[in-house]
Subunit: 286 residues, 4 copies
């Protein structure tokens, strides 16, 4: 229902990532090509790592394309990790507390997709959130509840495992209440150093997700693109749809898989939800 972008690499001005590409995320807020909705005008947010320990978060209920403050910040802030999200609400209220990315401590989280029949399953899911985390839920979205389930189930220690357990719990809860395909998702999360990105849906027909080709290869293919000279070899983007029509630049994240952008070699793995009732699942605090 939304579009997002995760950047990791050389500290760039946010506008270089957010505004300058031909099909930038800001342009997508008006006209998305691959989204379930073509307009993503129900608020936006960015998260970045600057001074201070926790990331900064700037969220607004205005459409991203006409927000002057976003343009100001983008022209004056640099960050080695940037999360950006534009929202097309599937019904919940347009308010800052429903805008992504969500933050807890050093962690950011953003989601494109939906927990299906959320009004019906929400109470059970919220009850599964650790009571000490529960008061920190501020908004009313499925995405934020999903984040707090992942935090409850170990996100800060084992992101892939925690997301697998959270999705397993969401699917088991949905199935118990007669929801056939309980979740549709691409998710990104970061602690400011590594970035994890997941692509999954109960129906195995997930929203699009792409990662950028490694920079040395891109430089050879596109010696004329100046921004490539300004970024390190390690720089990587993950996006819900490509930002430029650059041949060879974008690679599909495979169905039911997740990637890790980190110091050293990046990784790509299959993703399998872990149901709470499964014998291989870690004991969840339920």
């Amino acid at each position: 229902m939304c579009r997002w972008l995760a950047y990791s690499g050389s500290p760039l001005l946010i506008e270089d990532v957010l505004y300058k590409p031909a099909h930038s995320l800001i342009a997508q807020s008006l006209h998305s090509t691959l989204g379930a909705e073509t307009t993503n005008g129900d608020g936006f947010g960015i998260g970045w790592y600057g001074a201070g320990d926790a990331p900064g978060v700037f969220r607004s209920i205005e459409p991203a394309w006409n927000d002057r403050n976003l343009r100001e910040l983008a022209g004056h802030i640099t960050s080695p990790v940037l999360f950006a999200h534009i929202r097309a609400s599937s019904g919940s209220a347009i308010q800052q507390t429903n805008c992504h990315p969500f933050r807890h401590g050093r962690w950011l989280w953003m989601h494109n997709g939906v927990i299906r029949e959320f009004a019906q399953v929400k109470r059970d899911l919220v009850l599964a959130v650790d009571p000490s985390l529960y008061p920190h839920i501020e908004g009313s979205t499925d995405s934020e509840t999903f984040f707090f389930l992942a935090l409850t189930l170990g996100l800060e220690d084992d992101p892939p495992g925690a997301v697998a357990r959270a999705v397993g719990l969401i699917e088991e809860t949905g199935h118990r209440q007669g929801v056939e395909q309980p979740i549709q998702m691409t998710v990104a999360t970061t602690d400011g150093k590594s970035v994890w990105a997941f692509r999954y849906s109960s129906e195995h027909d997930s929203r699009s997700l792409f990662y950028s080709t490694d920079v040395p290869t891109l430089r050879k293919a596109h010696p004329d693109l100046p921004v490539l000279e300004r970024v390190s070899d390690e720089t990587r983007l993950i996006v819900s749809e490509p930002l430029r029509d650059l041949p060879g630049a974008w690679n599909t994240v495979p169905e039911s898989s997740y990637g890790v952008i980190q110091d050293g070699a990046d990784e790509l793995h299959p993703f399998t939800p872990q149901a709470p009732s499964s014998p291989t699942a870690v004991p969840a605090p339920l």
Copy 2:
């Protein structure tokens, strides 16, 4: 933490009630005399009964004193029942879904005060809300949770009983978790015909609440006030602080009591919370 006003009587332009009195609610949003905070600039809302079955609700996160749309509506809408509320947040987010009045079906609800240590007791209170009502909670305030507890406990059939049970539940929950004085409140609720207003606090030192003297008496005392000629004998106002310096116009709602404005004689009764564990309490759906 807030200021509110409930009007019941001859259909008046909203601006006659909201803007024209010397110490109008809008003036109080900038400079309240009796409030716990002198500025109530964290959003506002009005509820009124016009075309359609359910009341209309207009809520905004801007300060009431500079909201042009509120002034427009106030100059063009008449209503026989008006609820108006200006907010001074005690911490929860400034968003429309946290602005009063709250609505469910034909019912409106607004609250001045606080459920103390709400972050701590919220989970238990939310769990006590009927699961079929739970998905309708949109915001994050204590006041909205209080409303849904009252709905769960029979507000639509027996408002005084439901509020007594809700307050009893809030006090029992708070005490169980070590909160000494769990609630401070003035509350107004209406179905569009009658208005119920409550003044209570666990410490028996409740926020101020006033009701207006009956109109025939006021007309005799103030024959020069034109608005009194335009309203019926049955017209009544309940306010968190007086709107004009009219001698004899305002009467204190006594500590631990509630009033009913209705067709026929209005009523004033003592208010006593009913704890769920009390043998005299009706069985709550817990």
Copy 3:
């Protein structure tokens, strides 16, 4: 750059006009078919005639499709004349004072189109506004300046003549500064009784504009459409694009013409700008 709707006839709930048709203006705010832009998410406004002499105006910088207050008002207010406008900014700031309809006394005004090279010609045009009207200009759009030019040139006495003189002045000013096609416009204005709608552009290739077929004819063609039973024979809509796929319901306002909806027979006339320097032009207060 925008979409708009003018309704005149039996007092209807605003939502009947604004939300219920299949291609309603609210739906067009997300996905317009005929507009220069497909998304009109840069604010909106409505004007209506209720209690009070002057019309009420409700304007917001949020996209119309997700504005809860608009939906509330639309469900509770009826009006015999309704102006509604959704905005796609061509550059000027997103702020309430730039949202249509604009109001002066009993008059409303809304515009789809552009005064070309407005930054360049603005000073000359603003100087042509009557000094007593000048302080009432609150925003920064071409459309509001156009309105104040029309007011200066006699809108309240002779709407078609005043608009012809204003367009003549805009064209002469533009040509003097080298702008080839100074204006593109559909405009609606009303005093709450009659509605005037204009379609014109310097290049004679104007934005789309339609008026609805008279109600008795529509009823015969579409006996199954309940809303037609609730409106008088005199009811009429003018829209920048059709609201429903009703065969025979919508008629193009011809290029370079204007229509009048009024008591008695409606009218359709050719529209010709009157340059200030033209001998047939009335003396303008310049």
Copy 4:
């Protein structure tokens, strides 16, 4: 009508200047002691110098005290020069384009006070703005017009002279139209290197303005204030009212004078408006 703060010195986190002092500007937005109004809740703005040549500007129509985005930025951005302003509107619309500081190129401008009878004199003043600058006026305030007059009259080359000429022009224009005391002002302007601050009013009874005592002296008087250890000897604050109750910390800017904070010794001079008709005035482009 407003409160403001200008900081120049060692790059500090914005929150150190804006939130942490006991009587911080944010606290003043709720409860100002010395302001003409006690509440300054009609929008705010900050300007800072970061990446990029021009300063960044973040402005919002929400009250400063409850704006989460301001708090986020304040916790993550450092700047050697900071302008911050909280607004109490004297009537003009609450919109971002009316919030201070205003920016042109590298220059920032903020104002506390009023051009009296502005609706009456506005047209003449706006006509005196250089036509090439005129299209950059976006809002409707007296303060922005004042800025553009100063730019027209040489602000970028000679700030004290340009402000003297602008004030002279405003006074002459007002007097010509029967306004007895045409201007009341404290003004700050900066190019990112030096800061100029002016205190003046036609009635010689100007709004309060203070500058901080030099840091070495402050350190001796208050060895226990940690923030003083983190800032350079050159660091200086100018404020419309003191931020802390520090004995010896705040000095009144004298009536009808201006100060310059700059590399090397700061300066304090008398301020005298220069009327356009005065033989000593430089020829203004009128």
